[in-house]
């Protein structure tokens, strides 16, 4: 059973989606995005994250709410939004003790933080300050390069490398906690590839790959959100075996 059966399985799912009732429990519990605001150095791209949530709703079964909130790192409301992003292009300020402790608690108890470097240069003030910030939050855990078979590359789409508005690096980095990486660091300005103007057009061009590169960036963003929800689900033996059996994974 290869592609034909796979399609049949998906087709089986199709019938249900059309007849599923519209009722749902409270929207407060659906997935949304919290933008962490640190002031100088951070930038807000709510349209980029709304695009991520919209694409997730359209592409996956995740019940997301296209809602983006801006929160300070020490705001208790952060625990209402388990998926958070920190995007910036300049030097970040040093975290207060309260903010550092809350971020550590947030990430230790199940929250997820995507750090997105929008500076577009390899040695940027953002990168330096972001690494310092990560080190402050996780003083005993180093930031590490994620392996090419990491779950984030297969949590929904099969990806070979991370994409973004630019192709600065070919890897993602992260900090591990127990068996997952609750913090992942992207250097390729992922939100820049997702960001849109009010009229729906893309705000920034993707280089050097153009729209194909943007498409891959969208896929990566969905994978990141899916990874935040399912963590290492795709490393479960049943999935690995099946993907390898179908020849879609080496």
């Amino acid at each position: 059973m290869r592609r034909r059966s796979f399609l049949a399985g998906l087709a089986g799912m199709a019938g249900s989606g059309l007849v599923r009732p519209a009722w749902a429990l409270g929207s407060a519990g659906r997935v949304d995005v919290a933008e962490i605001q640190l002031g100088s150095g951070t930038i807000s791209r709510p349209e980029a994250w709304k695009r991520l949530l919209f694409e997730t709703i359209q592409t996956t079964s995740v019940e997301a709410e296209p809602r983006v909130v801006q929160l300070a790192p020490d705001d208790p409301q952060l625990f209402e939004h388990p998926f958070a992003v920190l995007c910036g292009d300049g030097a970040l300020p040093v975290l207060s003790d309260a903010a550092r402790q809350q971020l550590f608690r947030y990430l230790s108890y199940g929250g997820f933080l995507l750090v997105d470097d929008a500076s577009g240069v390899l040695h940027s003030d953002f990168d330096t300050s972001a690494r310092r910030l990560i080190g402050d939050v996780f003083p005993t855990r180093p930031i590490e390069t994620l392996a090419s078979d990491h779950s984030v590359y297969r949590s929904f789409f099969l990806l070979k490398e991370p994409s973004g508005r630019i192709q600065l690096t070919h890897v993602l980095e992260g900090v591990s906690h127990v068996s997952t990486h609750p913090l992942i660091y992207s250097r390729n300005d992922l939100s820049g590839a997702l960001d849109r103007r009010p009229d729906g057009s893309d705000r920034l061009p993707c280089t050097p790959g153009g729209e194909d590169q943007r498409r891959e960036a969208v896929k990566l963003s969905i994978n990141l959100l899916m990874y935040a929800l399912t963590s290492n689900y795709k490393q479960d033996q049943a999935h690995v075996n099946e993907l390898m059996r179908e020849g879609r994974l080496e």
């Binding site: 079964s61 199940g110 929904f156 099946e242």
Partner: protein
């Protein structure tokens, strides 16, 4: 031989003096008034003298010593091994009577578990202890040199003497007489095929293969290979071949993979061969307790969500849980997004395998916001029926809320509805989206699933302080027999009772739980945000897991014995717990127990105490599997049934070894300086002619009681009285 005699008086000397003194006074007074009456005085004096003789009790005493010949003491082995059939078809002990007759007069004792006087009426003792018997004889005849000590035995000694003699470590203590050992029974011509040992340890892990080895021992004409049959609780569990080696032993190897937890009795047996001397040693049992090493959980989720994320984190981080997750990442609604299937890492949902062949391999199945209809299609009723049957057979099932659960998942009218602790079939809007803080019920206050703290008052407070849930799935009401642990503070069900939010139920041998919400993750994350950590979430889910997959120990009615295996005669007690679905002990419940085993079947009855507990003493007389089945009945009818097994598995050691131990008996006789007499021959016992005992001999001849004394007394007294009357005196 006695020496020369002496005269002694039976009456104390002072009494004799008093009697003689009074007699003299009486005689002098009889002469008053003084006149010549010689003959009367003489007769009266003779009468008084005869009376004094009688009262003083004179006796002739002769003292001396004599030597008696030494006694012959015979010790006869009364153990069950003496009942083994010999080649001629007669019990081994049949030769004892003949030997005793040839030996002649002797003081005979039987030894086995204890030493007792007389020859054995039957060979029924357990542990034959020859050393203990010799010690007993030494104490009984302390200080006496015996003419001889005779032992009649097959040499299968279990008291330690055999081990000491054969090891040569300890010299045999000097005996109080010369020893003669008669071996009873021969090694030639006997055939016996026995299960020598069953080895598997006393516990095994669920779904993990464990070895069970059966050692077979053969004597005489036995096959070169033996088929060993194995049963589990009386049901066939396979067979294996033991190839017999030159030492007469062989081992059959079994590989067993237990498919459910509990206590099971494995019994190995070998076939009965013609002329088998000891048919009773062809079986041997061993009780094995099967425990879970890891709890195997199937988490099926209709869509990734925050609730799914936190539950997976909890399940995945627990090393005691083997988690298999399947999340529906994409549905038919998501097909128009322009991505090719080759770009996706999705796999086909293997629902047919999961809910057909693999289902029984899971300890717990969780439907988390999962709607079955799109995937199960035409097999929906069959596969959901499999889940229901799996639960009734002892599995565990939990349904968690969401927009694909309960009535939103169209479970009403399906086999799943029959196992849920809530009634489905809500008409109209089946959800309430308003945030709600659930209220702990009375049942929830004591149920293990909802114990967040050790103290009940703190527990209710802890639940009230948790953050609100994001709405709930509505249900009609709780199902009959279910327990509601958390309830809605304002909404009512069709039965007028508060609407259940968390409910549990016993379903056949299994359990089910329903949480009508999809935001239990807030008990983790929101609590952590408030600085209270995620203990509430962890304790809730750990409690739920433990209860859902609980072994029989958490069932409404449980019966257990302290151990799996007992030795014959050891005291065993069954402890019966009776609880209601809300986990409270049921007092005054009538409990009947049926114990079936080699002793037959017996029925016991009892009544639970205030804690819902009662106890039964169990039989352990005979070796073999024993099954205890209990039923508890309350006022409303049957509360539940439970059963357990235990084994009396230390086989009768007297029958483990049937060959007479000639080596031991000859060595023992030699060490003691005695004589060994082999079977089928007779030679008299060694007698020590010089042995014996000095006996003090005393001969006492009473002289006072002689009839002549009475005659003299009567005649002289009468004559004196006549003479006195003739003289005109009174």
């Amino acid at each position: 031989m006695t020496g020369p005699g002496v005269l002694e008086w039976a009456t104390p000397q002072w009494a004799c003096g008093l009697v003689i003194g009074l007699s003299i006074v009486a005689w002098v007074l009889s002469l008053w008034p003084p006149r010549p009456r010689v003959l009367e005085a003489l007769c009266f004096g003779v009468a008084l003298a005869a009376l004094d003789w009688l009262l003083c009790g004179p006796q002739w005493v002769e003292d001396g010593d004599r030597l008696e010949s030494g006694r012959l003491v015979v010790l006869v082995d009364g153990s069950r091994s003496m009942g083994v059939l010999e080649a001629d078809g007669k019990p081994r002990g049949a030769a004892v009577a003949d030997i005793l007759e040839r030996i002649g007069p002797a003081e005979v004792y039987t030894f086995g578990e204890r030493l007792r006087s007389g020859a054995p009426a039957a060979f029924s003792d357990g542990d034959s202890d020859l050393g203990g018997a010799l010690d007993g004889i030494a104490r009984k005849y302390a200080g006496e040199r015996l003419g001889g000590i005779v032992v009649l035995t097959d040499g299968i000694d279990r008291g330690g003497l055999r081990t000491r003699v054969l090891s040569g470590a300890v010299d045999v203590a000097p005996l109080s007489g010369p020893l003669t050992v008669y071996q009873v029974g021969t090694a030639q011509g006997r055939t016996d095929l026995a299960v020598d040992d069953v080895h598997a340890g006393s516990f095994a892990f669920l779904r993990a293969e464990f070895p069970l080895d059966v050692t077979v021992r053969g004597i005489g004409v036995v096959p070169g290979s033996v088929v060993v049959s194995l049963t589990r609780d009386g049901q066939p569990a396979g067979s294996a071949v033991a190839v017999m080696g030159p030492d007469g032993k062989g081992t059959a190897h079994f590989k067993i993979t237990p498919d459910r937890p509990g206590r099971f009795l494995y019994e190995a047996s070998v076939p009965l061969i013609a002329g088998d001397a000891v048919p009773a040693n062809q079986q041997m049992g061993l009780a094995v307790r099967v425990v879970r090493d890891r709890v195997r959980v199937l988490q099926v989720c209709g869509a990734p969500s925050l609730d799914q994320k936190f539950l997976r984190l909890f399940l995945k981080e627990d090393p005691a849980i083997d988690l298999v997750s399947f999340f529906i990442l994409r549905t038919g609604r998501d097909m128009n997004s322009g991505y090719s299937p080759d770009e996706l890492s999705l796999i086909t949902f293997p629902y047919q395998n999961l809910f057909d062949r693999e289902l029984s391999s899971f300890d717990l199945v969780i439907f988390q916001n999962f709607d079955y209809a799109p995937y199960f299609e035409s097999r929906a009723n069959e596969l959901l029926g499999n889940v229901a049957e799996y639960v009734k057979a002892g599995g565990a099932f939990a349904m968690l809320g969401g927009d694909r659960s309960f009535d939103l998942g169209a479970y009403a009218g399906t086999p799943i509805a029959d196992i849920l602790p809530v009634k489905l079939g809500v008409t109209g809007n089946p959800v309430d989206e308003r945030p709600v803080v659930p209220r702990l019920t009375e049942a929830g206050a004591r149920h293990p699933v909802t114990q967040l703290t050790g103290e009940s008052a703190d527990n209710a407070l802890a639940w009230s302080q948790l953050g609100p849930l994001d709405g709930v799935n509505l249900v009609v009401s709780k199902a009959p027999g279910a327990a509601v642990l958390l309830e809605h503070p304002t909404l009512k069900g069709a039965d007028g009772a508060p609407l259940p939010i968390l409910a549990v139920s016993d379903v056949g041998k299994g359990r089910s739980m329903a949480l009508m919400a999809d935001a239990s993750w807030r008990w983790s994350f929101s609590e952590a945000g408030a600085g209270r950590g995620n203990q509430a979430y962890l304790r809730f889910w750990k409690g739920a897991m433990r209860w859902l997959i609980g072994d029989a120990a958490d069932a409404p009615v449980t019966v257990e014995t302290a151990r799996e295996n007992y030795t014959p005669g050891e005291r065993a007690t069954a402890l019966v717990h009776v609880r209601d679905v809300a986990y409270a002990g049921v007092p005054a419940a009538a409990v009947s127990a049926r114990v079936s085993g080699p002793e037959g079947e017996q029925t016991l009855s009892g009544v639970t105490d205030a804690d819902g507990v009662t106890r039964f003493d169990l039989p352990t007389t005979l070796r073999g599997a024993h099954r205890v089945t209990v039923r508890a009945q309350g006022r409303a009818g049957v509360i539940g049934d439970a059963e357990t097994v235990y084994g009396v598995t230390t086989r009768d050691p007297e029958l483990d070894e049937v060959e007479p131990d000639t080596t031991f008996l000859t060595a023992f006789a030699a060490d003691a300086g005695g004589r060994y007499v082999g079977p089928g021959t007779f030679e008299g016992p060694i007698i020590d002619a010089s042995a014996g005992r000095h006996v003090h001999d005393r001969r006492v001849t009473p002289l006072g009681a002689h009839p002549l004394v009475g005659v003299v007394l009567a005649a002289s007294a009468s004559l004196a009285w006549l003479l006195r009357r003739r003289a005109g005196l009174r």
